[in-house]
Symmetry: T
Subunit: 69 residues, 12 copies
């Protein structure tokens, strides 16, 4: 852990398939432009309903990344 | 979003299989008698343990539905 | 429910695979040494990221067990 | 627990006598029109004061009921 | 306050104009079909943004109503 | 409710007997020096244990009083 | 900010007109007898309903005041 | 308070009679095997309903105990 | 909602006029430099007091924006 | 603990030096005019930044005092 | 992080000197009898006041430890 | 306070020495690349334990900065 400083951001990913998949979607999208992503925490799990079924899972994450020295 | 009014209710579904399945179970049961279900949010995830294993997943949802005009 | 007294403890399990699997991992580990495990509640879902992907899911549970008479 | 779906509602009962009595009052009133009431949780305990004494205890409950198949 | 029992429900109203107006919208809609509405509490204030401006205010209320004897 | 302004204060009462009695103790003590006490809400219930038994119940209240015109 | 010490109190103001007006009502009433009021935070917004309409807005504030040296 | 170190545990007691009795039940059961129990705080009050009446009160406590030197 | 990923940021706007106006001020300022602002949620409403009157309303928002593909 | 009644107030102290010092500052200031101060709990720790450094630590406390008999 | 399972416990340490010292006191005491202590989180900071000064700092920690394989 | 708009970000700093030092570390690191840092609030204090002692303090801050006109 040494003396690094970390920044946390909040992201929401979605998936028609599952909670786990919506998490992966947000993290993979974020890692396209951000480096040193280190950990995440789920802070909200929601979804949309269409015709009486779950149409999309939507998961909001706090994601921590190490600031570069 | 216009000028609709929404009502939220709280439901608990369960499943021997997974968290995602317990969510689907609650929503499909609710949609048998309620119309215009629109979104949900997971507010609690619990379960029962039997013989040292997860026997049932139990997920509590807030479910939003549009009131008819 | 009768007149039993229950004790709750807090455990964190992890899995490279899924949220559900991290829960099972914590409960199976705990049941090796503790008896009468009865229910659980998820209180935190986190994970570690490596190379822009979820490397481990980490789930913290409150687990209730019945105290023996 | 099987595959039942539960609905939770929020009720407030009151009593000039005690906290316990305000809970019973809400549950007995609700059970006149609702079936399959299963559990409750106290979420707020308030009261009114008149002439420097507790005049009424007011207890708000979340009450869970099993939806019929 | 006597011995009445109250039920609380959760509603979301919206308005293009203001927070206060979204509250009134939810209460007036609810009072078309529900009697003895007695009080409300704002539990969430959100809104939608279009073209860099607030397009709709959306206010979620807990609304208390007296159950009839 | 008109245009009155209310002030809330926080008090802790205790009793060797019961939760309800600790509430009454705090309110009766407060009403010796404060006028227009109007309502209370329990915000914490604690107690001390001696020799494996409850020795004192300690209840913390928010108490609302009407400010005089 | 220097070395001043601040005290916070909790007040509830009401208004038949609007949320903003209920805030102003509480602060103007408090400033009749208290000096050095410095800031406020809204901690609860409620209201009463009569005949299916908002009759009074009731806003609870935490108000900070600087203690005199 | 000196330099002692305390440990807190979480227990749930139940009683067919009252909230106060469920607290006592948990503390008396715990004191059979644990020494130096010092204080408790109620963190949840729930119950089961049978035939439209409260069948059991269930109270969850955080209980603090002094670790021996 | 499809497969978009959203980012949430936290902003505080202020206004001498009203709560609604402080919200609009934060959103219009943010939209000068950020694209695809989609929704907001009020998370704190505070203000400064001068001469016994509200001098500024200060509203803190969580604002969600869609990340570009 | 006997049958005393306690009142809690909320204070904010500040210090250019440290968190601990800001706590002491609030308590010493309060004890100039209030008697029987008994305990405190930190409820918020904030500070001001000037030229990229901590200029003041600001700590908000709940302070409990025994009411005189 | 691999597949280890962690257990969290809650401890309170105290010190006449400082917040940091009360944390160290709890952890050093716990490490006399528990192995594999891994991390902590402060969940409450309180203290006792005597003669208008801080007599003891009291800090409550959640402490995580790795369960042995 | 005028009409400025503020943005809040979340940072975690660490230090082998003390809580206060971990706060300073996060703020000094952030001020290397960000201007107009104005205030902070501690939202979490954690640490790592090695060989039964505190090895690192880790403090998470919300930091507010003024957006440039």
């Amino acid at each position: 852990m040494s003396n690094h400083v970390y920044k946390q951001i909040e992201l929401t990913g979605s998936s028609p398939t599952s909670i786990d998949d919506a998490v992966k979607s947000a993290i993979e999208k974020a890692s396209e432009t951000l480096r040193h992503l280190n950990w995440f925490e789920i802070i909200e799990t929601r979804g949309h309903i269409e015709d009486g079924k779950v149409a999309h899972w939507q998961v909001t994450l706090k994601v921590g990344m190490r600031l570069e020295d």
